[in-house]
């Protein structure tokens, strides 16, 4: 039993820095391990299509005849399954989050790489 048990904590709070960050003015906390955007080094890619098979959210499309690798950024869940399985290690998870988009038009959310 007691009263004003919160008073001490509430009082120290007055003199403490805010626990939140003024995002986006101050950048978000990130760690080297943070799973953010998926990037590809297309020069190394051999278009084997394993990433497409291993993607749990069906976000990757690989076309061998057209030599394209497409990613639907809104579908991607940044799990890193593709980066684990990629035999050439050309897929990387950047630790910056994907920039927000304002429309769901597929063209604006898909990346298209054309091979040489």
């Amino acid at each position: 039993m007691g009263f004003f048990k919160m008073a001490g904590t509430a009082f120290t709070n007055l003199f403490r820095k805010p626990a939140t960050l003024m995002y986006p003015v101050k950048p978000a906390k990130r760690f080297p391990n943070t799973r953010g955007t998926l990037t590809i080094e297309f020069e190394k890619c051999i278009l084997c299509g394993i990433c497409q098979k291993k993607c749990p959210s069906y976000a990757i499309e690989v076309d061998k005849t057209e030599k394209t690798w497409k990613l639907d950024r809104i579908r991607c869940i940044s799990c890193g399954s593709c980066t684990d399985w990629c035999p050439k290690k050309c897929l990387h998870l950047d630790n910056a989050y994907t920039a927000p988009v304002t429309s769901e038009f597929k063209d604006s959310t898909r990346e298209r790489h054309t091979g040489a």
């Binding site: 039993m1 007691g2 009263f3 048990k5 919160m6 001490g8 904590t9 509430a10 709070n13 626990a19 906390k29 760690f31 391990n33 943070t34 799973r35 098979k53 291993k54 993607c55 749990p56 959210s57 869940i77 940044s78 799990c79 890193g80 399954s81 684990d84 998870l93 630790n95």
Partner: protein, 359 residues
Amino acid sequence: MIKQTIIPFGPQHPVLPEPLQLDLVLEDEKVVQAIPSIGYVHRGLETLVTRQEYQEFVYVAERICGICSFIHGMGYCQAVEEIMKVEVPARGVFLRTIWAELSRIHSHLLWLGLAADAFGFENLFMQAWRIRETVLDIFEETTGGRVIFSVCKVGGARKDIQPDTLVRIGQTLEKMKKDVKSIEKVFLKDNSVRHRLAGIGILSAEDAQSLGAVGPVVRASGIKVDTRMLGYAAYPEAEFEIITGTAGDCYARCAVRIGEIYQSIDIIRQLIPKTPEGPVDVKVTGAPQGESYMRLEQPRGEVLYYIKANGTRLLDRFRVRTPTFANIPPLVKMLEGCDIADVPNIILTIDPCISCTER
């Protein structure tokens, strides 16, 4: 005879972000009966197992819940490993256990915040979540995700934790204890908080047992049930006692959860020096055939996984019985005879996760 009124609680209610609907049958301001209905967030995750290869289904399994996601992934992996007779390296098992206990700390701190919010203590809610941020930072540093970790895989763990990082995690958690103590005294000693929790929503030990309550709900009623005592993962390496309450009211459930935060910190402290060197995973090839059950202790209670495999890379059946599902009948029992003003509080003390329940 008093006229009966039916007041709907939910599916959208300020105290609970998730869609649980209860029809409360009232006589005056007393609840005489509560009729639950769920089914608003069914996503059909179980059936996805027939379309997703068993190694990639981990990512789906851990998305069953946003709070206890790690243990869902771990439970699925353990069930598949049992069918395939895969021996996970000791280091992988230890890291998994450490992550599972960290997620228990984060889940309980989240619940403490939500409970404070439910009885109208906004400042306490913010303090609980500020402390929880420490655990989320550990998660992001070690796994790369704040709530969805994607670090478990069939055969072990996908990421290793460096020994010096492990030691630092232990030190951070020890420091965190002081912060938890500062909010513990508010939850357990403050008069106005006690007034909202003590003697409310009483579940007797007999009811808890006969209705099949799990987790902190059954332990607060004085029954010693904890699936971790079965000795899966690295739990046999740690010494701990089951934390129980006696009263079976909202206050006891709150006290059990606070006790479990310290317990989890203690388990991690014991496991860190014992973590062996070596690889964290083994390569798994082939496809599973057979069926298996797996029981694990989630922050909310016992969870059960059933897997049936047919020898191909796609499984036949995946079934989860989540703790909230088991806790709904006890909840209905607790609500009988309570004041309508206490309903949100009581519902929150079972730590309901409706998305888990409906999958």
